[in-house]
């Protein structure tokens, strides 16, 4: 037993060494035209050696360490706590959502300009997350190309502005509806597909849209993107220092207050907040409606759903279309916020991040999606110092989540439905 442990520990230490030494201990340096291999500083070597020793010792005394850790777990007061009953959780979720929305309303008046700008981005991701939640979390259709609909929304605004001078408010519904149309059209070829196959097709679709945008140079200006996209206006009032579009007035002149560049950021934030709340409420209703239940039924058991008279076509297409609609929403806001869009903003990584938000949040849970969107957007900003390791930290967080909490931060709460007869029965008992 001891000999086996020792051998195992030695092996692990060796693996640590051969992984860490080439990565950390060897550097390629460019001197003029030639590249030379140099060793790292002494402290790096000390670090590597230390790491090897730690791994060796940990593996050698692993059974003992694990036992102690097990005892620590036993004194954890949370471990024996009963999970919250369903009714309580529904109430808790509603309470938390109201609290978040209220907090978000006051945010721009207490936070700095940069923080408000970041919060706008968070809200965009919340809209995206809530929309993808319909497709992945509820209908169970793994969509890896969700960013395509986001791009459709953004480019609709960009192009309508560039060619026809459309404003934000005119483009918002058009962008969302066009994205929904794309969702509907994509829905058709993938009706029969499930799981892995569906994921691959949607992934391909996402790439097609991006590559099209990149290559339709005449129309979309290709990789150079579209610039000068206007900000939203408030009843014809602009938030810039000078009025850009004829016929508009400027906000600070109308109200006779000194110009402040923060006004624009705050206004955009508030609009995004309103749209995010709108998204939240609409999808919240949808989930409790027949269409929402049929999405879930299809996810749970497609054959049973069909045997009860649900049309697979209608259910899947509605999920795709509604999911895409909200992505179009988010895309229009994004275009307005950035003022500039190019295909580079709509790479696969964006789809992956939104998917991560849905999975981390707990498939189907709206509160979970919101919390995950906040975490996924803000954590990388907080961890700027480790910017090189950002994706590493991100990946590790995902792996740990999947190991320890595969159901996500907050698993979906089911609506508690009171039946009249049951209520009567309960009062009888009491």
């Amino acid at each position: 037993m001891v000999a086996q442990n020792f051998r195992h520990a030695l092996f692990c230490a060796f693996i640590t060494l051969i992984i860490s030494y080439p990565i950390l201990g060897l550097n390629l340096e460019a001197r003029g035209v030639s590249i030379t291999l140099t060793g790292a500083e002494t402290q790096t070597y000390v670090g590597i050696a230390l790491a090897v020793v730690i791994v060796f010792l940990f593996q050698l005394f692993r059974p003992a360490i694990m036992e102690t850790l097990g005892q620590v777990k036993a004194i954890n007061p949370m471990i024996n706590r009963e999970p919250m009953p369903q009714e309580k959780r529904v109430k808790f979720e509603r309470f938390a959502l109201i609290l978040i929305v209220l907090g978000a309303m006051f945010w721009p008046f207490i936070a700095s300009r940069g923080a408000v700008d970041l919060a706008t981005l968070v809200l965009i991701y919340i809209i995206l997350g809530l929309g993808l939640n319909v497709v992945v979390g509820l209908a169970g259709l793994l969509d890896l190309g969700y960013v395509a609909f986001y791009a459709v929304g953004a480019y609709t605004f960009g192009l309508l502005f560039q060619y026809y001078g459309f404003s934000f408010w005119m483009s918002l519904p058009i962008g969302a509806l066009l994205a929904a149309t794309f969702g509907f059209v994509l829905g058709f070829p993938v009706l029969r597909l499930r799981g892995d196959y569906l994921a691959i097709v949607t992934l391909g679709f996402g790439e097609i849209i991006r590559i099209l945008l990149n290559n339709l140079t005449d129309l979309t200006n290709g990789p150079d993107g579209i610039g000068g996209i206007p900000d939203p206006t408030l009843f014809g009032m602009e938030f810039g220092r000078r009025v850009k579009i004829e016929g508009n007035t400027s906000f600070h002149e109308v109200f006779n207050i000194p110009y402040d560049s923060a006004h624009k950021v705050i206004f955009l934030y508030l609009i995004t907040l309103i749209l995010a709340v709108f998204t939240l409420l609409v999808i919240r209703r949808l989930i409790r409606m027949p269409v929402g239940r049929s999405w879930e039924a299809l996810r749970e058991d497609e054959i049973a759903a069909r045997s009860l008279g649900l049309s697979r076509t209608a259910v899947k297409l509605s999920a795709f279309t509604i999911g895409a609609f909200f992505a179009g929403f988010a895309g229009t806001i994004f275009a307005s916020k950035q003022g500039f869009i190019s295909p580079e903003s709509f790479v696969f990584l964006e789809s992956a991040i939104v998917l991560a938000i849905v999975v981390l949040g707990g498939m189907g849970s709206q509160l979970g999606v919101i919390l995950a969107a906040i975490a996924v957007t803000i954590l990388p900003e907080l961890a700027r110092e480790f910017s090189e390791y950002r994706m590493l930290v991100f990946g590790a967080a995902m792996v740990l989540m999947m190991v320890w909490r595969p159901q996500g931060l907050l698993p979906m709460t089911r609506v508690h439905i009171n039946l009249k007869k049951q209520e009567a029965g309960v009062t009888d008992h009491a």
Binding site: Q86, A297, D301, S307, V415, I417
Partner: protein, 251 residues
Amino acid sequence: MLEVRDLSMRFGGLLAVDQVSLDVGEREIVSIIGPNGAGKTTVFNCISGFYRPSGGTITFKGRPIQGKPDYKISRMGMVRTFQHVRLFSRMTVVENLLVAQHRHLNTNLFAGLIKTPDYRKREEKSLERAAYWLERVGLMEMANRDAGNLAYGQQRRLEIARCMVTEPEVLMLDEPAAGLNPNETRELNELIVSLKEDYCVSVLLIEHDMSLVMGISDRINVINQGRPLACGTPEEIRTNDDVIKAYLGEE
């Protein structure tokens, strides 16, 4: 009500169902029995529209339905259960029953978003119907539990209730007694008879439990290796030499 004539189903080179005919009249309980692999479930799948039959005709309420998509057939009033229980296991028991009433509900998106009176009325009605059937199959206490957490016998009952809330005219049960204890089987027996007597439903039944089949069937069809072997009342089947040799076994 339901007429099946010369139904055939071919999978590649395998003729799984060969020239099977059967009739289900109004308020009749008709059973299909036969050894494992005889093609009983394939017949079910053809009738309910999961498979497109290779030959033969299926007529339901006077209209041909062979080759129609499954969801349309179920909307016409013929629903089925499955050999292995297929519930929406991460949804609650009530939700399972609500999903099944899809076609009775107002599925207009905008009606639901603004909760029109019609939407509310239908939603309420479907809840009442769900409550009624939960009471009927004795699952009222479980209404807000996840369907996947029910005991096996309860899941079976929920599956039947889920079919009944769609208000079908023909109910197809694929081995409803499988995995039930004798007590539960007796309850199931009573339930099926009551479906016929009190709710005017015709039942097409696949079952291996002979006491159940012989007790409640008006007629029995025996299938062996995809081919019809015999058809008749329970008494005729019990004494049929071919059936005894192929399936029931000699005493």
